[in-house]
Symmetry: C2
């Protein structure tokens, strides 16, 4: 059995939903369909989720909600008309929205969650209605009756272990295609709560793990994942197969296909994921697997991201002081700063982290504590760095790879501020000044991909 999740652009219009139906028809294993809310039909378009957020805040502010409500209903009407559906389904959707709007407003967050989640929920109802109308036996499944239970507020919404059991019991061995709305679940007290944005991926991943799917398909609007950011590198190579840990290491900019937590359930269950294009379903897509055979290319991808800062700390005889590094990390932890790397010399250590976590007050507090509590001789911040990461399962046995990468960077004239290669050797990362990021990415692409493609 296959779980197929369709993103916002894949279900944005009648035309797109017809493609979804063809895809489901094409393989009888596709028994579980997880859908997003209708997304953008064109660049300047508004997603239904954004229309719903407008609606929710209009209601909370006591404004007239009529206009906002109709903006939502009209999207569904247009889709229903395009699919030759009776407009009865739109009445159902309107009634559902009215009922949500009349809910208790006292907990704003839960109220907004309920309105937002209607986007996926009503789209699932509409799509299952459409499937039935064209002869695909289908059934809308409400996450509440399916048992997708999540934890309570104020923690971040996460599926509880029993959710997997419930979903397995309620969804396995289905004759019909199950159409399941993404993005939300219910607490044990029956309160609706949404996952983070992009949370339909999580729903699909949870479902795939629950029903022990042989494959989790993630349909979007690209043929596959590129080995480098196509905004920086011209027509980069497409990745056919990538391991979970390669995918994770590449999760900097240009690789934001998945929110990283979304893959956790399938990762744990070792279910392969395939990223495919709704608009070109015959393209093989990119497959994410637990392990793979290493091909002739040692590098799978190159990723880069800007907006990093470095905290540099030095103290004579630092490495003789057991606990120095731990105490430094503890100070950062108390300031809620999560870090990427901690390269070190004998008497100095640098901590690299995303700059957005800093404020001028935090910077001052940290410098003060590091100086006073750890008796550091020097402690200062540096900003505007980029991290460039080269990733590949094949790196492990490839002599001279670091030399090739560093030589390619040297060709650009850029200085390397930091190098980090762990013992896992799945990734090699370089810290460079932000202004050099793009030219380095291009040069590394040339070094590791361009020549092989030509050959």
């Amino acid at each position: 059995m296959i779980v197929s999740k369709f993103g916002g652009t894949s279900v944005a219009s009648a035309e797109q939903i017809k493609k979804v139906a063809s895809i489901i028809k094409a393989d009888s294993k596709r028994k579980y369909v997880v859908v997003s809310a209708p997304g953008k039909r064109f660049e300047q378009d508004l997603k239904v989720t954004d229309l719903l957020i407008n609606l929710a805040y209009a209601a909370l502010n006591g404004e007239n909600t009529e206009q906002c409500l109709h903006a939502v209903i009209d999207r569904y009407k247009e889709i229903a008309l395009g699919l030759n559906l009776e407009l009865l389904i739109c009445d159902v959707i309107e009634k559902d929205l009215q009922s949500r709007l009349s809910m208790d407003h006292s907990n704003k967050e839960l109220f907004v969650d309920s309105i937002k989640a209607s986007g996926e929920d009503n789209n699932a109802k509409l799509i299952s209605t459409y499937f039935t109308s064209i002869g695909i036996p289908a059934r809308y499944m409400c996450p509440k009756s399916a048992g997708l239970v999540i934890n309570d507020f104020p923690e971040r919404a996460i599926a509880l272990p029993e959710a997997y059991e419930n979903l397995q019991n309620n969804l396995q061995n289905t004759a019909e295609v199950i159409v399941f709305p993404g993005f939300f679940g219910y607490t044990k007290d029956g309160l609706l709560r949404t996952f983070e944005r992009g949370g339909s991926d999580i729903t699909g991943s949870i479902l795939a793990a629950s029903v022990k799917a042989e494959l989790y398909e993630n349909f979007t609007d690209v043929d596959s994942v590129f080995c480098a950011n196509p905004k920086v590198v011209n027509c980069p190579v497409e990745i056919e197969e990538i391991t979970y840990r390669e995918m994770r290491e590449l999760s900097y900019a240009g690789f934001s296909v998945f929110h990283d937590e979304a893959l956790m359930p399938v990762y744990k269950a070792k279910i392969p994921v395939c990223i495919k294009n709704t608009n070109n379903p015959s393209a093989p897509g990119t497959k994410i697997v637990s392990s793979r055979k290493v091909n002739r290319r040692p590098i799978t991808g190159i990723s880069a991201d800007s907006g990093f800062s470095i905290l540099y700390v030095s103290k004579y005889l630092m490495n003789r002081e057991i606990g120095f590094g731990r105490k430094l990390l503890q100070i950062l932890e108390e300031e809620h700063i999560s870090y990427e790397h901690t390269p070190s010399g004998l008497d100095d250590i640098s901590v690299i982290f995303r700059s957005h976590q800093l404020t001028p007050e935090k910077e001052n507090r940290i410098i003060k504590r590091v100086t006073e509590e750890l008796h550091a001789e020097d402690a200062h911040f540096r900003h505007e760095f980029s991290m460039i990461v080269i990733v590949g399962e094949g790196m492990n046995n490839s002599t001279g790879l670091a030399a090739r990468a560093a030589t390619a960077i040297a060709r650009t004239g850029a200085n390397i501020e930091m190098i980090n290669q762990g013992s896992s050797e799945v990734s090699l990362s370089f810290g460079v000044h932000q202004s050099n990021e793009n030219k380095i990415l291009q040069e590394l692409y040339q070094e590791f991909f361009a020549s092989v493609t030509i050959g």
Copy 2:
């Protein structure tokens, strides 16, 4: 004023002590002479300190001490004869040793300390007697009356802040040359305690900081510090000038000129240090300074050491977990393991440390805790690694240096297991398998030194 410290081989015989006298005569600024106990005169020789340790344990074990005692006295007698001194000085020394041997044996460590320290103490008395005999106005200074106070047992012996004040008050503006024994001080209760082995360097460093010397000379038996281990690289380049932090980063094997803590007092006082050869005092030696002008060679030295282990830990979404690295380091801290580097990927982290800190029980405990408390998916140790460190103040502005180093390593066919370059850029370190250490050191020397020397 200059503080000149003479190591064991520099004061091992009458012939050597005559060289010391010439050195002191040659510059009237050399007012403070710190001496070790007589060291080895030839490869198979025994140091006086080792003879004294034998003596101390013979006494503790209730054995006859006569033979051990005479082995010590004979060394001094031979020196005194060679220097044409009256043998009265040897009677002073023998009485001193008899008096130490008759001390309370109840605290073994303090008893052994007292016997050991007599090596430096009596040598200082002998040398000041010799200086006077040849017309150098000189005075033996007892560390107790000079005020070299140190902390109490069982902590490691360290000079107390007031020691610096006392020494300044008691030693500044001296007309005579002060001959000061290295290696020991006294607690506030008047108990003698020794610094760690090699502790005469510490005494010299404390004295130089106390009297605000313009230079701390450290006389030994080599012309200068080499840029690489001469046991591995044939006739390596001699270092003329090196900064404190370069010296520290190079403190792996082949650079063990100083015990690293010995330089702390002069480092703090920014007093330059010069390592010179007693047997060739006209050679310029190697100068250790706070800062220096970078010359055309970006690299100052290459150092390597074996006997490292790697703890590898991986967990999906590790980098989203604030505190993971800190908790891991805390577990190691609780096992009293001090580490060198912690290279990391997004989902893995490696900790590199000296293998001698491990036991099979510790390994098991650590793996168990990392797996159970941190819920790591994989945690294992790997052994037999070497760390190779390239050091230079000039690295900071030298584009392509990491590329040159990595390319040189690749030429040897060795795989790089780890790379670590911090934001300070004074050092760049590579983790490699132990079996590749020497060939890599040779190749890196070729890359960074051989060509420049020829040109």
